[in-house]
Each structure stands twice: as structure tokens, then as C-alpha cells.
Symmetry: C2
Subunit: 558 residues, 2 copies
């Protein structure tokens, strides 16, 4: 009556050995073992940009140090016999079309959405001939190198092998915006933690780091000409990102194929500016905070005041000049209008300019987004500003949909391009309990915890018409950091954030034409997680190891 042990072994050996994440759009694999030659090397371009040479060196290092064993019963030992007499792969040769000079990865990565060339083809023959990786850009080559790194397993530290040659990959992302958002205001994250996160993002071919750098709790960004804001508004002098730090992050990210979207939240979520500029902030420490904000502390820009508008616009201009991206976010979430009802400065400003509060908000937003346009940047804003307020925004404004996945339809109806960041599918901080004091029975506002499988079932085109599909730029999983610091950054983000990375790279269907599904994804995600751990990212296990070694045996329905 019970399945016998030999049957278990069959299940294990028949597991999907395609461990790539995200899975390429087109993938053909064979069943021939292949090992890397002792002198295996990756042959880069003759006139290689420095960042491509670095990427090649990183790939060579990962292939040498990953020491990843296959997730099957018996682990690497189970493959020994097949690997022993395998053909050797001598090299991987990179190529790019001849042309007028080769751009760097960084240049390609920070271009406007829709212009970045990420496609590549990869061929690993089974007969001992060199493997080939071709792309139209160095960014495409980087994506292909990332795929190549994931093909290899280790036996005893002596043999680096695949069991699936020949391998033919033709790949390109379904959506250009595949992101992760980190809040560095509620709690602070040193540069080294951000860089480690960027590394992990690049391993899943993410393209966008949304740096929610400031908020009400602290203002850790040193903006040239506005140094006092961070000096007074940061948590501490060693909890400030200097312009050099920002440059460091942007460059590090770009070299790994990631564009940095800087986000200075306004006009709400700005209490920290009070410390340096009390004249610009209303209702800081307004009591009770519940009347003036969704979480403590309350504090918002007096956007109706012309001097505050000037201050904010100049702050944005200075901050935007720190970035390389074509995108810049002015925030825009959870503006609380009640804050201004009894704020004398605001009421006087409205009277003086003869505007309603909504008109003043429009004036303010036209000014802040106007300066971005002038600097050649595309403004990014939260969906609240489009759905709850009647603002005049540039047509190319990118909207981040966050409150609910259902809001995407309303944004699309208004004709804006948008990024999916729905709290009901994507928020990494949900489910960790109430963090406010005096609430022993309280739960997370966006309970329950968003599992990787919940995220994975997200449909980017849900309820959209075919003509609206072009408005979907992609999506991202955010981490709001009320209860996070470097201590749990990796464990709360990885491997879960990889879930949406595959949703937006792979799109609706697997290479076989079957729809994406959690069953075939789980073994691959296990593999990615263990590889991340090998590389020093503290990604957490998704199941007991017993289950990771036996795909399907820990499913709810068998």
C-alpha cells in the first residue's frame, strides 16, 4: 500500500534539473553530462568595457566557488558515475555584433525603460566544442553570463558539471522593469548591505533598484546645497549617504545591470525635514498622530506655500542631478489633507494665492515634476496621486500601483504607464505583526505574509485589455523597514523577491508553452536559494531539506 523506496528514487532522479531562475523564454536541454575543462575560461570581447571584463571575472569566480551540489537524494554522489567520463567544455566565447564601439553594461542599464537591450543567446554544445554567448549589448552578455553561472554543479570540488548538454537558450525579458524597493528611512542600511542586495538582484536578472531613500522617520540623503536636511534629519552622522556613497551605489548597480530609481517621498512622509526646516513642515508631532498620518510620526510639506514649493523643487533638482537614471520618484503616497485644516501657514498661503488645497497640490506637483522634465528625467509617482487627486502630470509619468492589485485597472484607464507593486501580492514586510506600541493583539496591516507562491501567481495583465498591456512596465516587491535592519534584510527579501523577478522576466508561459506554475517553479527556487547561500546571501529555506531533495513529496495536493 505504500510507495516503496525505489519509487522515491525515481521521483528524485526525474526531477526537473533545469535550475535556472528566472527560467529563460526559450530553453532546450539534452541529457549528456559535460564538465568544465581544468583550464576552462570565459573569453571576453577584444575591446571590452571595464565593467564587462569585471562581469566575466565575477562569473569565472562564481563558477569556481559556488560548489553547488544538486538537490537530489544523495546529492552530488548520485551523479558521480555519469560525470566521471563526461566530455570537457574548454571555454565560453562571448560575442557582440561589430559596430561603432561597444557600450558599457552601465550605460546600457541606465537607459530609458524600453531602450535597454537585454536579449542574448547561449549555446553549450555537448561535444566538447566551445560554448557561445551572443548578444546585441554588453548588458545582454551580462544576462547570459548570469544564466551560464547557474548551469553548473560541483562534485567533490574536482568536477564542475551539468547533466543536460546540449543547452540552447534564447532569452529576453517580458518586461523591462523588474525591481526591488528598499526603504532606508524607517531604519538605516549601510552601503555594504545595499551592495549585497544589488548582487543578489543581479543574479535574478532584476533591472531596477527603487531606493526609497527618505521618509518621515529619517532623511539620510546628503543633497548638495541642502546638506542641513540630512545633518539634522538623519538618525546619526554615520547614518548618512553622502554624494560619494550615492555615486558608489549607482555605479555598482549599473555595472550589474541595475538602474537606480531614487525616491524622495513628498509631500507627505516628510516629517524628518522638520528638524532642519520647521517652516516647511505642518503637523509634526500633531497629536494624536492618527489624525494626521497613517503611521507615526505625522509631518508633511506645506505644499501650498510658494517658498516650500521652491525649496522642494530645488531639492529635487539637486537630488536628481546625483542620479544617472532617466527615472526619478517624487513619492506621493498617503497624503493626509486633514493635516492642513488648522495649519495657519497653509491657510494663509491658500488665501494669498487664491487656490483651493487641491489646486495648490497641482501647482506643487507641476513644479516638482516640471523640474524633472527640464532635467530630462521621467517622473515616477504613487497611484494615490493619480486616483485620489486630479493632477496635471506629464504624459510619460510612471505610476507605481501599490494599495491593491485592483488599482492597476484604474491607472490603465487613465492611460499612464505603471509598475506593479500591489500590497496584496508583493509586500515583503506583511505578516510580521503589528509594530506600533500598545497593541498586543494587533497584526500587520497587510496580513497575511506574502509567500513566494502567492507572489508567483500574480498576473501582470489581470483585468487589462489587450491595448493596455503596453502600459505595464513590470513590477517590484518592496520592503518597508519598520521591523528591518541589516540583521534581517537578506532573510526577509530572499528568496521571495526572486518570485516577482521571474514573473516579470519570464511572463505568462514557461519555455514549453505551459503556464507558469508553482510546482515546477519550487525546485528551481530551492536551487536559487541554496546558490545564494553559497554566495554569502542569507536567503532562507522554503521547506525542510527533506522536501527540497524530493520535489512533489511535500505538496499539499499530491
Amino acid at each position: 500500500m505504500y510507495t516503496s523506496l525505489p519509487a522515491l528514487l525515481v521521483v528524485a532522479l526525474a526531477c526537473p534539473c533545469r535550475a535556472l531562475w528566472p527560467i529563460p523564454r526559450s530553453l532546450e536541454t539534452g541529457s549528456t553530462p559535460l564538465v568544465l575543462a581544468p583550464d576552462f575560461r570565459i573569453v571576453g570581447l577584444r575591446d571590452s568595457p571595464a565593467d564587462l571584463s569585471s562581469a566575466v571575472a565575477r562569473s569565472q569566480a562564481y563558477i569556481r566557488t559556488d560548489r553547488m551540489q544538486r538537490l537530489v537524494v544523495g546529492r552530488a554522489e548520485a551523479d558521480r558515475a555519469r560525470v566521471q567520463d563526461a566530455m570537457q567544455l574548454p571555454s565560453l566565447v562571448l560575442s557582440i555584433p561589430e559596430g561603432e564601439g561597444v557600450g558599457s553594461i552601465a550605460q546600457e542599464a541606465v537607459g530609458p525603460l524600453g531602450t535597454r537591450s537585454e536579449e542574448y543567446v547561449l549555446h553549450v554544445p555537448a561535444d566538447g566544442a566551445p560554448a557561445m554567448l551572443a548578444a546585441n549589448s554588453t548588458l545582454g552578455l551580462l544576462r547570459g553570463l548570469t544564466t551560464f553561472e547557474q548551469l553548473w554543479y560541483d562534485l567533490d570540488g574536482n568536477a564542475t558539471y551539468t547533466l543536460e548538454a546540449p543547452i540552447i537558450v534564447t532569452d529576453s525579458p517580458a518586461f523591462p522593469y523588474r525591481g526591488f524597493m528598499l526603504d532606508t528611512s524607517r531604519n538605516f542600511f549601510p552601503i555594504t548591505d545595499i551592495k549585497r542586495t544589488l548582487d543578489a538582484m543581479s543574479w535574478t536578472k532584476m533591472s531596477q533598484f527603487h531606493w526609497h531613500v527618505t521618509d518621515s522617520h529619517s532623511f539620510p540623503l546628503q543633497v548638495p546645497g541642502f546638506e542641513e536636511v540630512a545633518e539634522k534629519g538623519a538618525y546619526a552622522q554615520d547614518m548618512i549617504y553622502t554624494p560619494a556613497d550615492v555615486q558608489d551605489v549607482i555605479t555598482y548597480a549599473a555595472e550589474r545591470g541595475i538602474d537606480v530609481l531614487m525616491d524622495i517621498d513628498t509631500p507627505g512622509h516628510t516629517a524628518a525635514i522638520y528638524e532642519s526646516h520647521p517652516e516647511h513642515i505642518a503637523c509634526y508631532l500633531g497629536s494624536p498622530w492618527q489624525t494626521y498620518a497613517n503611521e507615526p510620526p505625522a509631518g508633511q510639506l506645506r505644499f501650498a506655500s510658494p517658498s516650500t514649493t521652491t525649496f522642494t523643487t530645488e531639492l529635487f533638482a539637486a537630488a536628481a542631478r546625483m542620479t544617472m537614471s532617466s527615472l526619478f520618484s517624487t513619492g506621493g503616497d498617503e497624503l493626509n489633507l486633514e493635516c492642513y485644516t488648522n495649519d495657519t501657514a497653509t491657510q494663509e498661503a491658500l488665501a494669498a494665492t487664491n487656490q483651493t488645497l487641491e489646486e495648490a497640490l497641482n501647482t506643487f506637483t507641476m513644479s516638482t515634476h516640471g523640474v524633472l522634465t527640464k532635467l530630462g528625467k521621467t517622473g515616477v509617482i504613487k497611484s494615490d496621486m493619480v486616483l485620489d487627486h486630479n493632477l496635471t502630470l506629464p504624459n510619460d509619468t510612471v505610476v507605481i500601483v501599490w494599495k491593491s492589485s485592483a488599482d492597476a485597472v484604474s491607472i490603465a484607464a487613465k492611460g499612464f504607464q505603471f509598475v506593479h507593486q500591489p500590497s496584496d501580492y508583493f509586500y515583503l514586510d506583511c505578516g510580521a505583526g503589528e509594530w506600533l506600541g500598545q497593541d498586543p493583539l494587533g497584526n500587520s496591516w497587510c496580513d497575511p505574509f506574502k509567500t513566494w507562491h502567492r507572489t508567483y501567481t500574480f498576473d501582470p495583465f489581470m483585468n487589462l485589455s489587450a491595448s493596455q498591456h503596453q502600459l505595464v512596465l513590470g513590477g517590484q516587491q518592496p520592503l518597508w523597514t519598520e521591523q528591518s535592519e541589516p540583521e534581517n534584510l537578506d532573510s526577509i527579501v530572499w528568496p521571495r523577491a526572486a518570485s516577482s523577478a521571474e514573473v516579470f522576466w519570464t511572463g505568462a508561459t514557461l519555455p514549453d508553452g505551459l503556464p507558469r506554475n508553482v510546482s515546477s517553479a519550487l525546485p528551481r527556487l530551492h536551487d536559487l536559494r541554496f546558490r545564494m547561500v553559497q554566495r554569502g546571501v542569507q536567503a532562507i529555506p522554503l521547506q525542510p531539506l527533506w522536501c527540497a531533495l524530493r520535489p512533489g513529496l511535500c505538496d499539499l495536493q499530491s
Copy 2:
């Protein structure tokens, strides 16, 4: 209309500076600043046991390296003026009553529950006279040293100070069993991670490490005479605890005032034994697993078979001989009787012995607990075995109440001593989402996440009569590790597990006689968390730093 900034500063300065965790039973503090003299030293006992000398050295080191700044706006800087001309404390002098030799901490810590002397008195005068720490045992001195370490803050690395001299502490725990349970079967934890956990436990004066060492997923314990069970049933050869490892953990724990309760789960949760002894295990890989277990894999001891009873009893005897504790757990949770309905071996054994399944279970349990009694150990068992089965258990058996806090009443009614481990208050793994495959909408079975404040509101005497209070030994927070490995051990355990540590040390009331409450606890728990981070334990933040610096301002109700 808004609270002004000076008002905020008043709130910050008026914050409860008593940062001790758990808070002592009796505590008097003054308001005189005091700094440690440059040559400050802790004067130990003349004939000090080695583990007390080590404890003294650790305390001296922590005091030097904690570099903990007070959690107030302005941090240490806010205290500079008060610290500058403070009196100096030259030393802390330990003392113990003269008698027939001084026992080690380890000896005292592993004694039977109720016999361990943990009380101490600590006096830190404000006038520059030496501080005094007195206890009736070296274990009591260890508890006092732990309190002493938490008194000190750092200014610039030059001054180590308190603002609250004189300080008078008279302290002893409300309950002897203050524990943490770690499951090392679902996923494996190296010794180094267990030791780091023991360190953190000792900082909160916990007394019991419940090592749930084996379960269905893997059997990582090398038991002398039964080496084959781990050799085949562990996840890998480098994922085995050897007898030397176990000795190492037990000694390390005992020197830190912690007794190790070893737990080999039986007769359910034993699938891993199948790998070495298929003859003793029924329904391994029974399909579907839902019929035979609460989670995959199914697999249970054939407890009706005399040979299986002999095997298990001898295994327990050999494992119990590895331990120093007076306690040993035989497991006992989630036994699935359906497993045996079609198990030929079991049915034949029942027929041969002319017993019902329940009678056979009683025979089995009498044998396993009988051998523990013979070895001078007290058996520990899960509440299922008492509530769902009519077993003959020794009167001194300790029951772990886990399914629901409401079960304590039923256990007390049967007259057993018990340990609180209720899933509705204490489970650290709850709320992290479903881990089974093929269940994209599934949540954790014990949703929601158990916040520290939820745990903190637990009443150990809930619904018990006064005469039943003596049955309450204490409580513990468990970590079941379906989704945990070393990567998230610290972040999922700390600082939350400290919450029950205070519940069971401090009891119902604060030193002022007021009931324990989450408002006064939160600033102290923040302090503990930051101190843990300083000492290398990756405890997570409970709130944005803005809130940690401003007690009360992030409360739900103000």
C-alpha cells in the same frame, strides 16, 4: 495645536531608563551618575570554580565591548554633561556564603527543577564605594553578573556609565523553567549557531534549552550503539551531532546557567529512522501523506511490536546517558493512529500480544518512561499523550502544553506539572506563510505571527486554581524549522524569545507592584535588542529607530 519640540525632549528624558531584561523582582534606582573607574574590575571568589571565573571574564569583556549608547534623542551626547564629573566605581565584589566548597555554575544549572538557586542581591552604591553581588550559589552570581552588565552605557568609548546610582536589586525567578526550543531535524543547525543561541538565552536569564534534536525529516543525533540511525537518517555526514558535539553543547549551556532538555520525538515523527531500520517504521511515504501525518513525511514507530519497543527503549537509554540533565523528553506529539490500520506488522503484533492499539501504546510508553526513571531522569512528554490517550505515566512526568493555551487547565486537572508552550501565544514560526508546495493561497497553520507583545500578555496562571499554581514550571517559545536555518535563526528568535523569558522570570508584577505591561516593557526590550546586536546576535528591530528613541510616541493609543 501641535506638541512643540521641547515637549518631545521632555518625553525622551523622562523615559524609563531601567533597561534591564528581564526586570528584577525588586529594583530600586537613584538618579546619580556613576562611571566605571579606568581600572574597574570584578573581584571573583577566592576558590572560584573555573566556569565562574570564565563568567566573570565574559562580563568584564561585555562591559568593555558593548559600547551601548542610551536610546534617547541625542543618544550618548545627551548624557555628556551629567557623566563628566561623575563618581567612579572601582570594582564589583562577588561573595557567596562560606561553606563546604563552592559548586560550579554548571552543576547548579543542571539540577532538578526547583532545586536550582538563582537568587542574588546586587548593590551599586553612588558614592564610589565598591559594588557588591551576593548569592547562595555560583548560578545566582551568574544571574547577578548578567544584570550588572546591562546597567552600563558608553560615551565616546571613554566613559562607561549609568545615570541611576544607587542601584539595589534583589532578584530571583518566578518560575524555574524559562526555555527556548529548537528543532534541528527539519533543517540542520551547526553547533556554532546553537552556542550563539545559548549565549543570547543566558543574557535573558533563560534556564532551559529544549533540544528537539530528531523528528521525521532527519535524525542528526549520533547515539552510541545506534550509530546507523544518524548515519542513514541524517541529511549528510557533516550534519550529525556526535557525542562530543552533544557534550560540548551541554557543557557550554550549563556554564551559562542553562540545562539542556534533549528530546527524541516518538512514537510519531520518526520517519527518518526508516532509513536505517525500516522494520520499526510504519507508513513511511504512505500516500497521501495527509492520511498518516500532519505534515510530510509520514512515518511512525511500530510501537505495538515488542522488538520496536525494545529498540526504542534502548535508544532512549543510550541517548539519556549522553545528557547531564534530570529531564529527558520522549516527544509524544501528533501520533496518527490511522497509520496502523493497514500496517500488517502492527496488526500481527497486536494479535500476538492480545492488546488494543491504546494498550500497546501504554505498554510502549511505560517501557520508554520506565527506563528514564531507572536512569534517574524525569520524563517530559507532549500534552497530546495525556489528553488524547489514557497512559500510565510516572507522577513526576513533566507535560509540555502546546496546542492551545486552553489545554493547561486540562493538564492541571490531571495533576501533572507542566511547561507552557502554547501555539496561540509562543510559536516563533507562526505567520511565515504556508511552506507546503501547491498551495499558493495557503497561510501558516498557526497564523498570525506571534508578536513579542502578544507573548508578553500571557498569564501563566490563566484559568488555574490557586492550588494548581505549583504545577506551573514555566514556559518556552519553540522554533519549528520548516522555514529556518542558520540564515534566519537569530532574526526569527530575537528579541521575541526574550518576551517569555521575562514573563517567567518576573512573574505577574513589576518591581513597583504594577502589573507587567507592554508600554513599560517596550523601551527595555529595544535596549536589549540593541545590546544583542552589539554582541553579534542578529536580533531585529521592533520599530523604526525614530520610535525606539521616543518611548510612547509610536503607540497605537497615545
